[in-house]
């Protein structure tokens, strides 16, 4: 099984090369691969419906306790079959739909990579692996949505989709890490076996919120649903595959897969059901207002995703069964309808339903496929969609009244939407379209027809998929369930409810314009709201970036320094006032002699003069005064060698400065007074703190003064009576050597500067 998942990646990388072998029939050639995979998964059917799960594991990052483990159970098999079967049809279709497109090889690369990632999502038992595949589906879908990269709208839509799902993905990552940390394992099966620890943990709500953020963004739940209709910029095969059959169902899959781990609590019930119910109604309503065929389908897809989410939120046996049936029905009819929409677009040059009509005459085969899809979507017998809707009604009527009302209203709206998208373009009088329509080649009608046949077949004989759906429901509920599906349940309350729905649906379709006009007031709330927030958020980010750049990054060095200083001062004073003990600073002022005061004052005057100097030379001179005063302090405190070095360095650097500054223009004052004052305040704050620290530090005495050591040991160890001599040549021999070297180097520097100057003088 590991090869079944990973071979897709290898093939994807080879796709551009393989494409060159047979450009004309590339679609058919590439579709062989998913077909083989589909057969492979079918071969496991017997074992899986028998209750066995096929499991393989592969050590991956043993250091982090990660392994690549795959688990094929009922739920996984249902999704894997959807991915591979629809994948086969889509790739066949795309070969003709995108025929001659210069980027077709790239399309195969990404769609195959997407398929492999999607298989990885639904088969991984390890949460980390699942997350990785999950992100890969986001990335590959980004490239697929932005396939027409020359179109601004396509790029914007691709970016929007990736930002929304990527954000959710990162939340999911955090949720997964938390789950693994709390539950002690990253294996879903292990977590499901012991879910009490996780659900009883105080961070359970946080985990749930993070995971749901991931699932809801991926499955386009309100309020994150706006990216899916925008993503209709993608080529139609991509929309059919990613945005109805597979990727957007990944969120639903995740909820289903994790419901044994996280589900069953009250928060789960209310949050998941609530979001699902809101989504199903709001987007079914929005679908009515669309005129673009693909957007109608997109909104109805969001609605179905909401329904599935709602059912998983309810989480009881009937609801889960209904979710599985509804899901299969949706895969069958929605992919078909998308392919039909693509064919119409391809053949007529438009997707606007106001310009379409009477296509039944020119595109009979497509019309048949569309009719089956639409009727199944409308929930009419004898199609599989009817079975799905009956299961839905059975589940919600056992739930509570609000959910039932929402379900009936949604089905009513979807009935009208199905008519709008699947029947209307083919009925009525023929219209004038940009291109003259006719049936597309077989590769492009194979998909709708095949899926339509399955809808009819499963509608008449629901026993066929029954075992698979039971197995899928069993893995969601984590216990054995058996379901019995039938087209005809007898004349009961559910049937009445269905009949009411149909009647209402016909009414909505008939009075569409009136209803749209009357209820239009509610549209902005659901329609403009979330995507408006998204736009606002992006604008806010840009605005704050601009603001910060202006304030923080204006290019002035002085501001950079001031920032560092300010932070230092604030932090330092805060620390000092919190932890500091001012009493240590108490010192004996009487100890300071007059000469020390004088030296200190001279240094202070020098420092002030440096800051206030009007020319470079004056500033350097004043700085020299500070340096000499410091050297004097060294002398006063008995460090003649240090003082000596300081004197020499000061002298040399003064000479150097004089030579360099000779060429400099005089000072100019650019700063405004307020800036100068601000800098003075910052400087004083930092300086005062440093002074304080020095005072505190001087009260600490770690070692005996070093002079004691020298006087005791100079004769014993250095064999000399002149202590200073011994220190210079013996105890600190290397220091002396170093100082001499520094002096020599500095001297050479001065000499070369002088020579440079003379040389220039001669030259000119």
């Amino acid at each position: 099984m590991i090869y079944a998942v990973l071979s897709g990646f290898v093939l994807a990388l080879l796709a551009p090369a393989l494409y060159r072998l047979s450009a004309r029939w590339s679609g058919v050639v590439f579709s062989v691969f998913p077909a083989i995979l589909a057969l492979y998964f079918l071969s496991h059917m017997e074992a899986v419906v028998g209750g066995e799960a096929v499991r393989v594991a592969w050590p991956w990052m043993p250091a982090m306790g990660l392994e690549l483990s795959f688990n094929l159970d009922g739920l996984g098999l249902l999704f894997a079959l959807a991915i591979t079967v629809v994948g086969t049809l889509i790739i066949t279709y795309a070969g003709s739909y995108l025929h001659g497109h210069p980027s077709l090889p790239r399309f195969y690369l990404f769609i195959l990579m997407f398929m492999a990632s999607m298989l990885g999502v639904v088969l991984s038992d390890n949460l980390i692996a699942l997350f990785i595949f999950w992100e890969l589906t986001s990335v590959t879908s980004y490239f697929l949505i932005g396939f027409e990269h020359d179109k601004d709208t396509a790029r914007a839509a691709a970016l929007q989709a990736l930002l929304v799902t990527g954000t959710g993905g990162l939340a999911l990552m955090a949720g997964v890490l938390l789950m693994g940390q709390i539950g002690g394992s990253f294996e879903i099966s292990a977590l499901a076996a012991d879910n009490a620890a996780l659900q009883g943990h105080r961070l359970y709500p946080l985990v749930l919120a993070l995971v749901l953020a991931g699932a809801f963004t991926k499955s386009a739940q309100v309020p994150f649903h706006f990216w899916l209709p925008s993503a209709m910029e993608a080529p139609t095969p991509v929309s059919a595959y990613l945005h109805s059959a597979t990727m957007v169902k990944a969120g639903v899959y995740l909820l289903a897969r994790l419901s044994p781990v996280l589900g069953g609590s009250d928060i789960w019930l209310y949050v998941v059901t609530g979001f699902g119910a809101a989504t199903m109604l709001a987007s079914a309503y929005q679908a009515l207002y669309q005129t673009d065929l693909k957007k109608i389908l997109a909104y109805s897809t969001v609605s179905v995703l909401g329904t599935l989410t709602m059912l998983i939120g309810l989480g009881d046996k009937l609801a889960i069964k209904a979710a599985m049936v509804f899901l299969m029905a949706h895969v069958l009819y929605k992919a078909a309808l998308f392919l039909v929409a693509g064919s119409i677009d391809h053949e007529t040059g438009t997707r606007d339903i106001r310009n379409l009509g009477g296509l039944r005459k020119t595109m009979p085969i497509i019309c048949a496929g569309a009719a089956v899809g639409a009727l199944s979507m409308a929930g009419l017998p004898p199609f599989f969609g009817f079975v799905g809707k009956e299961a839905l009604y059975e589940a919600v009527t056992h739930g509570n009244l609000p959910v039932t009302v929402i379900a009936v209203l949604t089905s009513m709206l979807l009935f009208a939407v199905a008519w709008l998208a699947g029947i209307r373009p083919f009925s009525g009088a023929e219209t004038h379209t940009p291109k003259h329509a006719h049936d597309p080649p077989w590769t492009m009608w194979l998909g709708p027809v095949f899926l339509g046949c399955l809808s009819v077949l499963f509608g008449f004989m629901p026993v066929l998929p029954e075992k698979l759906l039971s197995a899928a429901a069993s893995s969601v509920l984590a216990k054995e369930v058996h379901m019995h599906l039938a087209l005809w349940h007898g004349f009961n309350a559910l049937l009445v409810l269905s009949l009411v729905t149909f009647a209402l649906g016909v009414l909505v379709y008939w009075q569409l314009e009136t209803i749209k006009r009357v209820t239009a007031f509610a549209l902005p709330a659901v329609h403009r709201g979330p995507s408006h927030w998204y736009a606002l958020w992006l604008r806010f980010l840009n605005w704050s970036a601009v603001g910060q750049t202006r304030v923080l990054q204006n290019g002035y060095l002085r501001l950079y320094l001031a920032t560092i200083m300010t932070v230092t001062a604030v932090l330092a004073w805060y620390t000092f006032l919190t932890y500091g003990d001012v009493t240590v600073v108490a010192m004996d002022w009487g100890d300071i002699g007059v000469h020390e005061w004088v030296v200190g004052l001279v240094a202070l005057v020098g420092a002030i003069a440096t800051v206030r100097a009007q020319t470079f030379l004056r500033a350097v001179m004043a700085l020299g005064v500070v340096g000499y005063s410091v050297a004097l302090i060294f002398v006063l405190y008995g460090a003649p060698d240090l003082a000596m070095t300081q004197f020499l360095i000061e002298t040399l650097s003064l000479i150097l400065f004089v030579f360099v500054f000779y060429y400099m223009p005089p000072f100019k004052r650019f700063s405004r007074r307020v800036v100068i004052v601000r800098h003075a305040v910052i400087g004083t704050a930092v300086g005062a703190f440093f002074t304080l620290l020095v005072l505190v530090a001087t009260s600490v005495q770690w070692h005996p003064t070093i002079s004691t050591y020298f006087s005791e040991n100079s004769y014993l160890m250095g064999q000399g009576r002149n202590i200073v001599n011994v220190i210079l040549v013996d105890f600190r021999g290397f220091d002396t050597l170093g100082e001499i070297t520094v002096l020599a180097v500095a001297g050479i520097g001065v000499y070369s500067l002088i020579r440079l100057r003379l040389g220039k003088g001669r030259g000119s």
Partner: protein, 480 residues
Amino acid sequence: MNPFSALTPIVLLGLTPLVLMLVISFHRSHRLAVVISLVGMALPLALLAGTATSAAPPLAPLLIIDGYALFYIGLLSTATMVVVVLSYGFLERVPGNREEFYLLLTLATFGCAVLTASNHFISFFLGLEILSVSLYGLVAYLRTTRTALESGIKYLILAAASAAFLLFGMALIYADLGTMDFTAMTSVLAAKTREPSVLLLGGFGMVIIGAGFKLAVVPFHMWAPDVYQGAPTPVTAYLTTVSKGAMVALLLRYGQYGGLLDYDSVASVLAVIAVLSMFLGNLLALLQDNLKRLLAYSSIAHLGYLLVAVIAASREGSHAVTFYLVAYFITSLGIFGIITALSDERKEADEISDYRGLFWRRPWVSGALSLMLFSLAGIPLTAGFVGKFYVLTAGVLSDLWALVILLVVSSVIGLYYYLRIIITMYLSAPEDPSSPLSATRRFSLPEGLVLAGLTVLLIWFGIYPAPLLSAIQAAVGSLA
């Protein structure tokens, strides 16, 4: 084992600039300088394999050559070799003397090696200054251009100021603890009461300023964009990888011994710095049109992520930091390498608009660049993802929930601007043929090999990180 033979890698690294200096004064040859630098960096690497196994005694008290130091020395010298290869092509295109560049570069790496092995404030400061002083020269190497001079001066003044803070901080810590030896600090700290003195905290603060400047984390980050943009691209690559990597290595070691992270107040200051860096870095990167500036901000954000793992401080944290650094090295060197290799005499390829439609002219190069950007964004199957994942794990293991969530949120912003660059590359090429850089410049063989190698490593560590992880565990394990 003779303690001095353990020093061999560092001694060799120190000899390299000396040899270069002598050779340059007798015979100027760009090619020869490159070869000497490469050999100088490769020799210690070859010796590492031998020394790593034997437990080296600390060269009391300044340096300690343990597996940790050796791992980082290996990493830093390898990265330097990449920079040397990139510099060759770069310097061939600019006028003036070229050989001294390698002198400064190898000297800087010597300073970095001292930093990674230092076990004492003295060696810490010496290593840092050797690094900084070399970098002043490197940043302003193209001294005839305005931007290089400007960034050189900015770097010089700010680095000097921060070094002053650092030095003062060391003095304060010494005043409180009575030792500058990291190992000795541990025992002194263990004997002290938990109530921190103002001297110690003040000292920690100053050390954080000094280190924070080198790492360019908020609020000590302001030099980064200007210097990144103005410095020669190979130097920018060096700044963002080797220079920061050495500082991180030191910070980890010091954090382990010096009690830096044992105090809540210090940890919370670091946490604030991490959060600010993640958010400001990512936000400011949003609007950049210059790729080098953008990467400067992105680097600020990435160091913020790293700090999260540093704060986590557990053994998991040290592993995560090291892995993240390796991934970050590979990615950054790759991106800056591509920028360098695409530039030509007329124009440096540092504007995002230069990359418009690159895919259609150079599919392999733009493919590699996309992978690098995905790695920075932390998308799976790249080393960057494993690194980010590891950092998050370390955060979760240390119960740093808030930091983990903030890291995730700020990464979302990051996603946006990395994608912007990728989108630009896949646009159709502009009509005006004079505007973009000449995409006709062929990569030289070494450039091509290095970039291909980096890309392969990026994917390899992204898919199968187990060998690197166990190597890191072995090396970092010697830290505790």
